[in-house]
Symmetry: C3
Subunit: 351 residues, 3 copies
């Protein structure tokens, strides 16, 4: 059955907002509850105890499965509960992009964005065609002529990523598997958390709908953030201690105000291009940027869904407060579903 | 007179929450006032002027003494004011653990924890027996076989602490006094601020009472945080500039959500063990951790009372907001006293 | 016409708060709107679109000019709108201190502070005579006998600033233009955001009026903050990669509570001295400090107006919440104007 038809069969007064119990689930449940929705947490093997410590984010129901792929099999059961899935970053990672595309459950956002997000070449094509400035990419390590970040498929979540200042340093690691070699931009990192609504008709308007900036964070990465305390990179290399880039948490930041117009312009172009390419990047997305000492943005990645970087802002951010007090990204998603239901346009924000 | 009897003699409707005017006193007074308590600030020699700038945290009364040890002598006078002492980190440091044990004043929390906190060996025994993963300790500098943090008693508040990558680097400083040599873990630091209530019967339940996570911070440390800007550690050593680890402030952080279940599990085990060992670590405590690039926690210390790391959260945290809006640790303490008074169980949270 | 007379001619019930659309304008407009004022945004060439994303900070009117100096020419027109200008950091930079002094528009704060702020020698004289501890300054590079920060006029916003550990390192850059050579203090940086009201008669009282501490931030600086990830300074120099100090954003911090009395004392002395020197540093100001591992403040600069470092606190700070909930510096300015209007003392906070 097509998602549209499933959605048609739903009792719209009893919509349940559901996601996997990890990543950004606390704010997703918290926001949904605040907006009056029932909530359902999908967990593996047993009920996670830690939610009991956070009564305002405790889902109304837990749905226990054996492994994440089981979600595909229990779709019917979840349909009966009028479930709309919020696919956070771990959702995609655990289930796999392919499986997410096959899932017979109404899912917040546009699933047609997934191929443009998960394939690095397509993602780069999308962002460059939207006019964004990105770090150079090298097709062969021999071409390295500046410091680069090397990412390869064997590396788990940033664990094996490394910086090479030249070809020789590349050879010291010389990963065999497929990799990307990206210019390493020096500057300060800003992960800018936007929200695109195709149905909201006020605020920062686009050709269709409107755009919001909800928060900005910076990722904590182990061990690169603090390893310098031990000694210089060169000294540490002798001891076999190599930097790694595993995300362990997030910090709230604000951007120099004069850079905001450019940040909006980039996000606007990314959305407009996505409308052309695949029907639009609906809901939350994150532009991952470095600001250089020339006050220029370099965008090194986009995440086409709610990112963990929105977690510092469960109680609002210096930006979202200018829209509405205590507006987390999780709550913004719930508001979008509520608005779409009211307007009879759920089909435009669900896929 | 035993604390129980002193407490019995109190006019429970006129309880006054008191602490030394430093460390976390602003949030302790602020929280107590919000919950309707009278407040009293103990200060040395003169009324500190800076509270007048913060009307919502201004204690109702200042109690001026000559030096901290005088608190022991004026206990009777404070008893007449129905004072309950909140012992923050500086309270313990200024008064000394020994003196705190002798103080004839009802004190929030369990004083029997103090010996387990202040003695490094006992603290390690406690945490290891609770199943926590801790950095290795070396009984002799000759055994150093990895980077270590060296702490010695002559060092004041992190001033003389140093990192040695091997035995030779240890010898360059070679402190004579008693010291601990602890494996230096590379990763990112999270200071996780919990609250254990033996009387609250909802939320994240333990064998007795329940557990809360109120906030997570990271310490600012001078000069280690920023000294790298001058040059590499090796270059700076030539100039006689050595890193130091003196806490000067705190920053708000959030932890990767998938690490929360483990954080709760650790705290749960620490509390359960403390119930066995000494009657329970009652009230706020802090697990001081490093998260490695394997996404494992290493716990390098526990603080068995309110820490300065809760100061960024006077107006709430992304975690406490999921329990109740604008819930600081200071306010949480006041709520606990209020609840215990209501239940007639003050004696269980006071010692 | 003198500012006093212009102010006299104003319809006080229709005051419009105005500033240039950049820097801290979001919180200035947001705060003014919250306090019931009309707001006007001065922009170059066209209406900036990004405000539409922040409805609570959207000015009621945009006033479009060709370049910033045009403000001087359109003063009459703005006077008709009963405009009070809030001069933020970029305002001063764009217009120039000289021009700001000539502007025929009621301006929040005391313009007589400007000469004491923009001239480095006079600023130093002011702060030292207020008893503040500042980094040493070297009148000649040959005198360098410790690590120094070198600032020169050709450098744009921190781009060419550099650290030299000795005279030789100075010679490697050897800037020709006028410069300041300031001892480089190792420690952690705290940018402490105060507010001085000459008309408020409660709180932390001074010889005239009172003092508030509204927030503390730390600046993000590109590329110095993150460049260490590439390798040691010495290695990077070989590659031609030099540190730079361009402010790109801000992070919220709190200070060790035991340092607050000293912070207030410094600010108090700075205000009292300013009353002597030029009639007072009215409104927001920022002491830019390093805290050393001896827990001493070194003040390296003062900003005599609202700084971008107040932007993380649009929804309040752990300090301002102790005065009034959700009190940004922008809102505090609006409250001051409101109070002065009520008391008939606008002339004392406007120049």
């Amino acid at each position: 059955m097509a998602i549209k038809e499933i959605l048609q069969s739903y009792n719209k007064t009893k919509i349940t907002i559901a996601t996997i119990c990890s990543h950004t689930s606390l704010q997703i449940f918290h926001g949904a509850k605040k907006e009056g929705f029932r909530t359902l947490g999908i967990a593996i093997e047993k009920t996670p105890k830690f939610y009991s410590a956070f009564p305002n984010a405790m889902p109304n129901e837990f749905f226990i499965i054996k492994d994440y792929k089981e979600i595909l099999k229990v779709a019917k059961e979840l349909q009966k509960k009028n479930v709309i899935i919020i696919p956070h970053g771990s959702f995609v990672e655990y289930l796999g992009g392919e499986n997410l595309l096959k899932m017979d459950l109404p899912t917040f956002g546009n699933r047609n964005v997934i191929p443009w997000e998960v394939n690095r070449k397509k993602q780069r094509e999308w962002l460059l065609s939207a006019g964004l400035d990105m770090p150079k990419e090298f097709s062969s390590p021999k071409e390295i002529n500046c410091p680069v970040m090397v990412k390869f498929h064997g590396a788990k979540g940033g664990k094996g990523y490394f910086i090479a200042k030249n070809y020789d340093e590349f050879l010291e690691v010389n990963p065999k598997e497929i990799y990307t070699i990206q210019e390493y931009i020096t500057g300060t990192r800003y992960y800018i958390n936007f929200f695109y609504s195709p149905i909201k008709n006020s605020g920062y308007k686009l050709s269709k709908g409107s755009l919001e900036l909800l928060s900005i964070d910076r990722r904590d990465e182990a061990n690169i953030d603090e390893v310098y305390k031990l000694g210089s990179k060169e000294e540490l290399k002798k001891l076999g201690i190599l930097p790694s880039f595993v995300v362990t948490g997030n910090v709230s930041v604000v951007l120099r105000e004069s850079l905001l117009p450019k940040a909006f312009e980039m996000a606007e172009n990314v959305v407009e291009k996505s409308l052309e390419l695949c029907g639009g990047i609906i809901g939350p997305f994150c532009l991952e940027t470095v600001v250089t000492d020339e006050l220029k943005f370099k965008v090194f990645e986009i995440s086409a869904r709610i990112v963990a970087g929105t977690n510092p802002f469960i109680f609002g951010s210096p930006y979202s407060d200018l829209i509405e007090e205590k507006l987390s990204t999780g709550r913004r998603i719930a508001k979008e579903i509520k608005l779409a239901r009211k307007l009879g346009r759920l089909v435009e924000i669900i896929s």
